[in-house]
Amino acid sequence: MPATSSPDDPLAGLHDALLAWLPSQRWFPAKGREIAGLRTVGHAVVSAPGESPTVEHAVIGVSFADASGGSAEERYQLVLGVQASPPADVEYAVIGRRDGDVVYDGLADGRISRLFLSLITENATRGPLRFVAEPDTEAPIVGPGRPLIGEQSNSSVIYGERAIMKLFRRATAGLNPDLELHRALRRQGSREVAPLLGAIEGELDGEPMTVAMLQGYASNSADGWSMAAASVRDLLAEADLRADEVGGDFAGEAHRIGKTVAAVHLELAAALGTQPLDARGASEIEAWMLERLDRAAAAVPGVAEQRDAIADVLRGVTAAEPSTLQRIHGDLHLGQELRTPTGWLVIDFEGEPSKPLADRVRPDSPMRDVAAMLRSFDYAAFHQLSEWEQSADDPDPQLERRAQEWADRNRSAFCDGYAEVSGTDPRDVPELLRAYELDKAVYEVLYETRNRPGWVSIPLRSMRRLLTPAGRGER
């Protein structure tokens, strides 16, 4: 594992420590891949002279041994605290030593999270970093934050249950859609997202880069996935009750989620505009879908066998009624919805993480989000079957029928709620919806085959259902 560094690199001497530290970070996705090199892409001191601890912001580039072509460098953001003897409670976050100082993950240090918050409220600029408070926001009471534990791809600190600051670990040039869309939704006075309070912006490759985002914190919330899972468990445990008879019925929540998603779509359209889905636009979308299909077909025989039938359904995009394109969430599922004591919030507008930024900000049909939600209800309904069935090789048709009943009931409640607010019933554009749903299912088959083979039967089953004419529509 060679670390490449030049003498004037401020992180020189830390590279070996970083190479050891990175793979144990939850947000570092490339666990198990051999790192070929590490370099410092950007570096700035954030703290003022004399402030202790010293706070540094860095972007590092990591290249991998298995990358073909050599351009597959992935970039990550770091906030570093540097102090000769830091307090004991950041011990767990220590990365290494440099020139007699201890260097540690700065987000673990309450003094550093407090500094960031006060810089945001002051609209300060430190080196290349601009700390921005959203206009007309009530400044949160400045205090130390504490790291949120258990996060996947980013790192957040929580300020007294009032605000949450999310540091985007993946460094990408360009405005992060999460920040962009939250800003737009705040202008619309959206009550369906946690209000944006501020941001930290920097530069990468001469372009603006979103470093971090500060939002209101939804305390006492739970995500839609765990709530749906509790409901499904309640149903599957009652051999003789129907989905609408069990106590844990989720349809009321599904209906509210539908209303929430529709409201977000209306707000995004009002803030950022719409454009008609014309023949050219439709064929573009169709082309992306077919491209994704062929990638999946190449990897999964089950998809390859059905390739032409799937393609026929995907072409439904072009056959669909005239409809409009707009900015959408792009990666919606039950886990991206938070139940708070007063209603539902939609979170995380970064889009599908595997796609390049240009694709993630491209206007698309709101039916892509709707289809993604319908897929998520399917997942929620079927993911527990393996716990209840005697064995995976011996599927229990009764359980499957009941899981399907849960999915149908909640998908339809979601569509009802969506129609109530948007005025458009997704089931009135069955070809479009079916194309988006199948596109998503094909992607899921590929993803599960690679990452969670035990779950691949869920999207495969849906794929088969979507290819049967009887599987059309939700009514």
Partner: protein, 600 residues
């Protein structure tokens, strides 16, 4: 006699001047009211400004509790005989629904005489004896006072209909037609089709928000306000500890309004409160206002001065939400209603309950939620009554001991003073075949003997039949049997009440919901710091699901502290840097005291 209880049994000489002379020009219709000085007064308890915040209340239906004279009716003397049991259970305050003279067409809420006891229950002297004996045991007594309306047999009403020009002519709300106040909803939709009824004697319509035999008093008449305040004074002089003011939102009516929560109503309650504060410190007023919490807080009065209307009010919407949360296996029905509950003045307290003598009221849920509650908890249509469900706690929960314990633990730990309903501490059943709400008002089951030990009368004379079914019948479910088994529900309830009393945070502390990773788990802390700076911190974790659940709680604010489980005193692992992991059995719950690290 308890220490600290002052004996002040006074037999004051009768003061003739106290009886108001309202005779003047209408001698025939004037009525002399008895005075409190005609009776002995009960000993009083020391004045304590916060007792109602810490108290465990217990609702007793006098008629159904104990019969001392073998007439088949429970009575005040019978209740006095059972005070030792209530003291043993840990009850701090007994709440008696109305025991006034009444034709009993609405369970005594149709009062015929504010200063007389229903003959079946006994006499005013019996009441004073009950009060005195209760105070001797440190137990307080409050009762209902219906201010909004009287029975149509009350002499005020009889005089009012007979003589429109007499002293009582303007005591009720009369009108030549039935068109005014049409925006007021009808409450008893099962029996009433209008809020107006024609009286053929007077030839006018009278206004009633409840049954047509309960005419509403006219509070726009100053004489009515005076008469009502004098009725309060009568019982306060005898030593009563407070009143639950029944149906308070409806005192006044105004065109173009729904006739609820009007400013005039609040002004009158402020007057009543001032009488209590000036003349009877330490006594309480409890509002029965079946309204949304945001409206109910108005009944606490001005928060700036700590509250200047009622000391307490029932939190109605919480109760159906507890049932819904457990059925849905989600904390959100409870979280939602608590998040919508405004702050209350610092001298105010909620009263919370699982069941009472009324149906499980569903007025404060949405239509969807009401359908859902019916479907889940009232599978037999006879169980529905008005807009609610008439079941006792145990049958509502299908006699599931785990759920009974979870519900009671919630009742004893959520913000507010808990109000237990007689018989629920032993898991009594109900009789859905009895009319109206009598199904949940059957006699208390004391022993496996004849009439369940409630009465030694001929069983045929019983006011209401004893529950006799094989599951909830008195031979299986009774106080005597459960007293003898420390594993019984009765002993469990007693232990939990006792634990609650050891921790002032339950009654006095603030409430903070913790959230947590699992939507089926409701977790919160109650925290109280007393005047001496001593901190009492209790963590409550409740599993709404019937399945075992894990939960990760963010307890970082109490890092290095040690949670000690309250029923057994077992210390749990100290709170560290990571989320605190707990596992709960289905419908399980924990109460922890959180001690500072140095207290270990």
């Amino acid at each position: 006699m308890n220490e600290g209880v002052s004996a002040s049994i006074t037999a004051a000489p009768r003061d003739e001047g106290h009886v108001r002379d309202v005779t003047e020009d209408h001698g025939a219709s004037a009525v002399e009211e008895p005075s409190a000085d005609d009776f002995r007064h009960a000993r009083t308890l020391p004045v304590d400004d916060e007792w109602y915040k810490r108290a465990v209340f217990y609702e007793v239906l006098v008629r159904a509790f104990a019969d001392s004279n073998r007439d088949g009716f429970g009575d005040l003397s019978g209740l006095t005989d059972k005070l030792d049991y209530l003291a043993w259970l840990g009850v701090d305050c007994v709440w008696l629904p109305p025991f006034y003279d009444s034709p009993l067409r609405d369970g005594g809420y149709d009062i015929r005489d504010y200063r007389k006891v229903l003959p079946e229950f006994g006499t005013v002297a019996d009441f004073v004896e009950l009060l005195d004996q209760a105070h001797a045991r440190g137990i307080r007594v409050i009762t209902d006072l219906v201010m909004n309306h009287t029975s149509d047999q009350h002499h005020w009403f009889q005089e009012s209909r007979r003589d429109p020009e007499g002293p009582y002519g303007d005591f009720y709300v009369w009108s030549d037609d039935d068109t005014r106040y049409s925006d007021a909803r009808i409450i008893f939709v099962d029996t009433e089709s209008s809020n107006w009824t024609y009286d053929s004697v007077r030839g006018q319509f009278y206004w009633h928000r409840f049954f047509s035999h309960q005419p509403d008093l006219n509070f726009d008449n100053p004489a009515v306000c005076e008469a009502m305040i004098d009725a309060l004074r009568f019982w306060l002089d005898l030593g009563i500890d407070g009143f639950r003011l029944d149906a308070v939102p409806y005192l006044y009516e105004r065109d173009g309004t729904n006739g609820e929560n009007l400013p005039e109503t609040h002004a009158f309650l402020k007057r009543c409160r001032k009488v209590v504060d000036d003349e009877y410190p330490g006594r309480v007023l409890l509002a029965e206002a079946n309204q949304w919490p945001a409206d109910v807080v108005e009944y606490f009065g001005d928060a700036e001065v700590g509250g200047d209307e009622c000391h307490m009010a029932f939190h109605f919407p919480l109760m159906p939400r507890i049932f819904m949360a457990v059925r849905r296996e989600s904390r959100f029905p409870i979280s939602e209603i608590l998040a919508q509950t405004p702050e209350i003045p610092h001298n105010a307290q909620w009263g919370i309950f699982l069941r009472n003598h009324d149906e499980l009221t569903l007025e404060m849920v949405t239509d969807d939620e009401r359908d859902y509650m019916y479907a889940e908890y009232a599978k037999d249509p006879r169980m529905k009554a008005n807009i609610g469900i008439r079941r006792r706690l145990a049958p509502l929960l299908e006699n599931d001991r785990n759920q009974l314990e979870l519900f009671t633990a919630l009742l004893l730990s959520l913000p507010g003073s808990p109000v237990l309903y007689y018989g629920d501490e032993i898991g009594m059943g109900d009789n859905i075949w009895l009319g109206d709400r009598d199904g949940v008002r059957s006699p208390m089951q004391w022993t496996p003997d004849r009439n369940a030990g409630f009465s030694t009368c001929d069983p045929g004379r019983l006011n209401l039949p004893i529950i006799m079914d094989p599951v909830y019948g008195y031979q299986a479910v009774n106080v005597e049997a459960q007293s003898n088994s420390t594993a019984s529900l009765l002993h469990w309830n007693r232990r939990m009440i006792d634990i609650r009393k050891q921790h002032p945070a339950f009654g006095l502390g603030n409430f903070h919901e913790l959230g947590g990773s699992n939507p089926s788990v409701l977790a919160y802390v109650r925290e109280h710091v007393d005047a001496g700076g001593h901190r009492d911190l209790v963590l409550c974790v409740n599993n709404m699901s019937r399945f075992p659940q894990p939960v990760e709680l963010d307890l970082i604010a109490w890092r290095d502290c040690v949670p000690t489980e309250l029923t057994g005193g077992v210390p749990f692992p100290a709170i560290g840097e990571l989320p605190y992991l707990l596992t709960l059995p289905g419908h399980g719950f924990y109460w922890f005291a959180i001690h500072e690290a140095e207290e270990r």
